[in-house]
């Protein structure tokens, strides 16, 4: 099975007024077609940076890719300039983010935006180079276009309208006909997120990058949206890269989980192996932190210490200062991601 996405030795640095922060340190991973890969970690671990950097959404003024490659269908996305990458972004590689309202245009109705997304896809299929601001994230400041879509009149063409309704129904939006005519701010958080998913999927993307898509949603809405993403994944043959801080969410929907810490990959395993037999002490520490029982029967064991300063990371393993099983070698040498049995890998001297 050829990998859809193959990231090799990828490092990203941010320059700040107080020093250079190594946000990603030698990250390598593979994503297969039709797979849901969850990248899990706490704040500052680099998971969002990873998601954004794949399609070149890092702020250009402060972030630099210092090494490595991101091969999408064997093409190195890192080497592409900003114009070329826009051909992939929002089309073959779709994104959804935490705040759906900032990704949708407030001045166009929902139906019009989905229709425009469909038009983009059709033009693309015919071989035109297209991109519009619609499917780009608000982080981007550039507005150069290769080809401009015709301005939408207030009425959606009938043939498109049916497809728009189909997509709305696909994402389980009741009253699709009414929602067509609404503006994004009129909808609830859960609905706008579903509209985002509809727009992303209308591109028939090979890869969907979802950065904390349900964090801002209520628990019941989150369940609906995650369930939907999982169902659609198989229907539309898309792989999903799900970035989340929530281990429990990852356990529910992911096929494979990568745990990140301080810019590095600590562990990479299929979801069942990771949860039943976590190898890296950070992973087991994280699992022990999540409350699953009652206070009189369960002992929550927090991980001692705090995340390291990424401007001045410790020598050796970045987790060593907090690791209950740290050995001497851990404080002097950096561990590397080594393959283990069962198709998993871990970056820890306990297993080298």
């Amino acid at each position: 099975m050829e990998d859809l996405l193959s990231i090799e030795g990828f490092s990203v640095k941010y320059t700040t007024s107080s020093g250079t922060v190594t946000a990603l340190d030698n990250v390598s991973l593979d994503l297969h077609p039709n797979e849901l890969l969850a990248i899990v970690g706490e704040s500052g671990c680099g998971k969002s940076t990873l998601g954004l950097s794949i399609i070149g959404l890092l702020p250009r003024s402060t972030a630099t890719v210092s090494s490595g490659s991101v091969l999408y269908k064997s093409k190195d996305l890192v080497k592409l300039d900003s114009n070329k990458i826009r051909e992939y972004r929002g089309t073959e590689i779709a994104m959804i983010f935490q705040e759906p309202l900032t990704s949708l245009s407030p001045v166009y109705k929902v139906g019009e935006q989905i229709a425009e997304a469909i038009m983009i896809r059709e033009l693309r299929k015919k071989g035109h180079k297209v991109h519009s601001d619609l499917m780009q994230h608000t982080y981007t400041k550039q507005t150069q276009k290769i080809s401009r879509l015709p301005r939408l009149s207030r009425k959606i063409p009938t043939d498109l309208k049916n497809e728009v309704i189909d997509y709305l129904k696909l994402v389980r939006i009741a009253d699709a006909e009414q929602v067509l005519d609404r503006y994004p701010f009129e909808l609830s958080g859960g609905m706008t997120q579903r509209v985002m998913i509809a727009m992303a999927l209308s591109q028939e993307p090979a890869l969907l990058i979802a950065d904390e898509p349900t964090t801002a949603l209520d628990v019941t809405t989150q369940a609906q949206v995650l369930k939907l993403m999982k169902e659609l994944m198989h229907k539309v043959e898309t792989s999903i890269l799900l970035v989340t801080h929530d281990l429990a969410v990852a356990s529910q929907v992911a096929d494979r989980v990568i745990v990140m810490y301080a810019g590095e990959i600590a562990e990479n395993a299929d979801v069942y192996s990771l949860f039943s037999k976590p190898l890296h002490p950070y992973t087991s520490g994280l699992l022990a932190c999540v409350p699953t029982g009652y206070k009189d029967t369960e002992e929550l064991t927090p991980i001692a210490g705090t995340i390291p300063d990424l401007r001045n990371p410790p020598t050796g393993c970045k987790f060593a200062p907090r690791c209950p099983r740290a050995m001497d070698v851990c404080t002097t040498t950096r561990p590397h991601l080594t393959s283990q049995e069962d198709n998993r890998s871990v970056s820890c001297f306990l297993y080298e």
Binding site: S17, S18, G19, D309, R311, N312
Partner: protein, 293 residues
């Protein structure tokens, strides 16, 4: 240097000033102009009170023999049509500007901060009333008010100060209101209520300290504007009357000599410009330095 959460050091205020100078080099010039301006004002006033003359010549002493003479080593800025040394007059008029600009801005900040933060924090009817009152005052043109006061009370420095104070505070009130709206939603304000604080206590202990920086930055830039407007009033003859020196008035009284003795109207104008630009540039530097954080 203090330790911060990451364990690295936090810059002291001194470091921050140096950073500002590095980031916006022109602010160094502004800084020196402002310091010179304030020091001159203070020194001249003190020595004046002690009865000692600090300027090379007596600013109001006429000496018809050197009337309309150009800049020379003897008279750095030349002499006016009555033979008075322009340099001495310029130095002697600095205290006026220092007094007016600082007192107007000072009162404006205080009045504006109090009214604005109260309006923003309490909201509701009080907010509406205070803001509409602010709007009314804001719509009054400074010139008209100055002239009315000049007619009613006569011209003069203090009267012009009053005229400007009366209408200068609305922008500060607006700013304070906006800032306190931002602060009012913060949890520590709620926590203060749990600590038994009432409105006034919260305003003084929590709201005002947190909005002061924005206002002070604006104030720095504003001082220059006050000086400029005051120069205009003085030019119109509403402030200090001759023979006492005042920059604006010096311009208006010598504008007839623009061709024959151009230094007479131009030099006071340049002095005003330098002071205003000095404040402006310093204010820019402060704002840039703070924004970066």
């Amino acid at each position: 240097m203090k330790q911060n959460a990451q364990g690295t050091s936090d810059p002291t205020p001194f470091d921050r000033v140096l950073t500002m100078f590095k980031k916006t080099p022109e602010s160094i010039v502004g800084f020196f102009v402002v310091v010179l301006f304030i020091l001159t004002g203070i020194i001249v006033t003190i020595f004046d009170l002690l009865g000692i003359r600090v300027t090379p010549y007596n600013p109001i002493q006429q000496n018809v023999g050197v009337a309309l003479s150009g800049p020379s080593w003897d008279h750095l800025f030349g002499c006016d049509f009555l033979g008075r040394d322009v340099f001495s007059r310029v130095i002697a008029s600095v205290p006026n500007d220092v007094a007016v600009s600082f007192s107007v801005v000072f009162v404006a900040i205080i009045v504006g901060a109090l009214l604005g933060s109260l309006a923003g924090f309490k909201g509701g009817l009080l907010d509406e009333l205070l803001m509409r009152f602010t709007d009314v005052i804001f719509s009054l043109p400074v010139l008209v008010i100055a002239m009315v006061i000049a007619v009613a009370l006569g011209p003069g420095l203090t009267h012009m100060m009053i005229a400007m104070i009366v209408i200068w505070w609305p922008p500060y009130a607006r700013m304070a209101r906006g800032e306190s709206l931002r602060v009012a939603h913060q949890n520590f304000i709620e926590a203060a209520k749990f600590a038994g604080q009432r409105t006034l206590g919260i305003l003084f202990k929590h709201v005002l300290p947190n909005i002061s920086i924005t206002m002070l930055v604006y104030a720095t830039l504003d001082v220059g504007t006050v000086i400029l407007v005051y120069a205009g009033l003085s030019y119109l003859g509403l402030s200090v009357r001759p023979p006492l020196p005042d920059l604006g008035e010096m311009i208006s009284n010598s504008q007839d000599y623009l061709i024959t003795a151009p230094w007479l109207p131009i030099i006071p104008g340049i002095v005003i410009a330098v002071i205003v630009i000095g404040f402006s540039v310093l204010g820019d530097g402060i704002r840039d330095a703070l924004e970066a954080r």
